[in-house]
Subunit: 398 residues, 2 copies
């Protein structure tokens, strides 16, 4: 069972995430200063901070920039140690010297998304209008807004055209949004394990997570930070439910099956008899140490709202008409959260406008999480695509 707040005081122990607040881990850009960012909702935001990391060196032509977009609970520590968890970056298998996204060759940028909790302005930050954390006063944002904020960062860095935009899951949604909104600023795009709109089933799973958070009395209508507390139990349940969707039935069977945790026989209790229960509880409780519950609400909502069909008159191909971007769309066979069929719809839309597109379906039993894991064929695919695209980019240079 997850550890709730002390019911007497509502107090929860300080976490690494709390320690981060106001600290200066990573690089920061203050954006939207001269003009606030106009959001899809019609609200404005600004000035706001974007936290980011860079790896490698921008070349003289400013042509070798790669933007990595992170997923729902990711952050900008793509290839360097995460100061909150102390763990290595989340994509060190793919981003680094000699990797598919080769930091000896490319200038890699990764920024924490708008609404996040790792340094970019989000609901846990102070609302200048009240001097208190935004909570639910933070405007509801979209993937379009996240990408607008990233574009301001890219401007800030003096980069006109990105050589490549790459990301998986919600990161893949951002890649598609970049390609649709800023076609001339994206030479190559790699959307991975994603969809051009969030499915009803995925919205349903997100809604379960949001309800779990909002059902926790410690959520306090979103104002928990004002009370020095946090909806730990609700956020842990949200994470547990989501985590199942990141794996696959075969992977869970292979990793855990019905094996028992630290015992010979079932215990006839509600303790974690099975390894899979113990694993899930750990996923829930460790997530709470590093993520803000309101950020979880805002970012899941942004994913639910993502619909490139709706945004382009019901025809996905319209999102990419006339594009000169080179695409590589990647799906994983056992991914049931963003199944191959959803990725293939992106390919069909790109085909319909005669775009330059490769499509690769990687055979794996690791489910949606495969995009974060050691998958040699996946990595070889990216090395090949990015290498070929870079050769083309260099030919295209004046």
């Amino acid at each position: 069972m997850t550890t709730p707040a002390d019911p007497a005081t509502g107090a929860t122990p300080a976490t690494a995430l709390d320690t981060l607040a106001g600290s200066s881990h990573g690089k920061r850009a203050l954006l939207g200063v001269s003009e606030p960012l106009l959001l899809d909702s019609g609200a404005t935001l600004g000035p706001f901070t974007v936290a980011y990391e860079t790896y490698g060196t921008l070349n003289a032509e400013r042509s070798n920039a790669v933007l990595v977009c992170h997923a729902l609970t990711g952050d900008h520590y793509v290839a360097s140690d995460n100061p909150v968890t102390g763990k290595p970056g989340w994509w060190t298998d793919l981003v680094g010297p000699g990797r598919a996204v080769d930091t000896d060759r490319f200038f890699v940028i990764c920024s924490n998304v708008l609404g996040g909790c790792m340094g970019t302005t989000g609901p846990r930050d102070l609302n200048p209008a009240t001097g208190k954390p935004y909570g639910l006063d933070f405007p509801v944002i979209t993937v379009g807004d996240m990408v607008r904020a990233q574009a301001l960062l890219i401007d800030h860095l003096g980069i006109d055209t990105l050589f490549c935009v790459i990301g998986g899951s919600m990161g893949g949604m951002q890649v598609l949004q970049w390609a649709a909104a800023y076609p001339d600023r994206v030479f190559a795009a790699v959307p991975i394990a994603t969809a051009a709109r969030h499915s009803a089933q995925n919205i349903a799973f997100h809604e379960v997570g949001r309800q779990a958070i909002m059902a926790d009395p410690e959520w306090r209508g979103g104002s928990y930070l004002d009370f020095g507390t946090r909806p730990r139990a609700g956020l842990a349940v949200a994470r547990m439910a989501a985590h199942i969707t990141y794996l696959s039935e075969p992977a869970l069977h292979r990793k855990f099956g019905r094996r028992l945790q630290s015992r010979e026989k079932i215990g006839f209790t509600f303790d974690a008899d099975f390894q899979v229960e113990s694993y899930l509880r750990h996923q829930g409780s460790s997530f709470v140490e590093r993520f803000d519950a309101n950020s979880y609400l805002y970012i899941t909502r942004a994913m639910d709202y993502f619909d490139l069909w709706e945004a382009h008159g019901g025809v996905l191909a319209n999102a990419f008409r006339g594009t000169r971007t080179r695409f590589c769309v990647v799906a994983f066979t056992s991914d049931w959260l963003f199944p191959t069929a959803e990725n293939r719809k992106i390919v069909h839309a790109l085909n319909a406008v005669a775009a330059n597109v490769s499509f690769v379906e990687i055979e794996t039993d690791k489910g949606h999480d495969a995009f974060l894991l050691d998958e040699p064929v996946f990595h070889a695919t990216l090395t090949g695509f990015i290498g070929a695209a870079w050769a083309a980019r260099q030919k295209a240079l004046p």
Copy 2:
């Protein structure tokens, strides 16, 4: 968002379920009187009550009894109005005059499972040792225990051999347990959309539900009834998560897609913008009106513990060696909770002992819930199998 208890008083409104407590809806049998029931855990229980319904008439030979086993959140109102919800019985499409389980021909019995909350003894009932509701003092039970209790009920009704035992999901687990534990008392067995052991993924989903309940402060260590409250919010979240697993991605897409609820455009809020959110919230809040949270813990645990392999030396076929029961195993193509592969393992084990077994996979996009829905091919299959088995049963009679 679900309606939590009044935080000031902890009070929750009375529900139809509360009204049922101590009432006399349905038939009741007091069992385990002369000797308490020995449970798989080693604990004993008795005397205890089993609530049940019957339909049709037992014939003079006592050969026409059909036992219907209900699923996790089902009850004994299989073919008559449910006094708690006021809704028709849950399997009226299949059980009734002229239906596949023809009440003009068969004597149909359905009992609320041990640990349930609809009249059979469970954690919401008074513990004679304390005079207070059992709560977590109720012993952890298994599908084997549920079937033992049913067998006592069948004894009580003066029936030696059941013509047929039929059920879906956890009901199917009970069917398999009946066939394994009492092979000479089961002429025909129809396990539907089930498995001979609960998978790691299914245990994981159940654990999410249990954690959601136990994270609700109103659960109060399982003693909520002593405080006149109930973990409504947690139970609603548990139901929402589970409900997604009962459907299928295509069914959710067909029923809801990304259609909005009572609005033209997305609202940029955390209200239920999408129909699928509104639907899920309704599933959660209506479930709370009819189900006890601790029963949910106990019954999901019983399903998790179910493993006919483990109980038979790691060889499922051993569960059925020498059986003369006729089996009809039914699976649904879009059921990802109890997928065809799990049902086929049952068939393979029965084949390995040369049992009389039919296997039917029904084409449908309705997911696991298909077994409760209007599926004509499914119904025709059962009509055919049960009719043929009944003809064989009559020939077999002395």
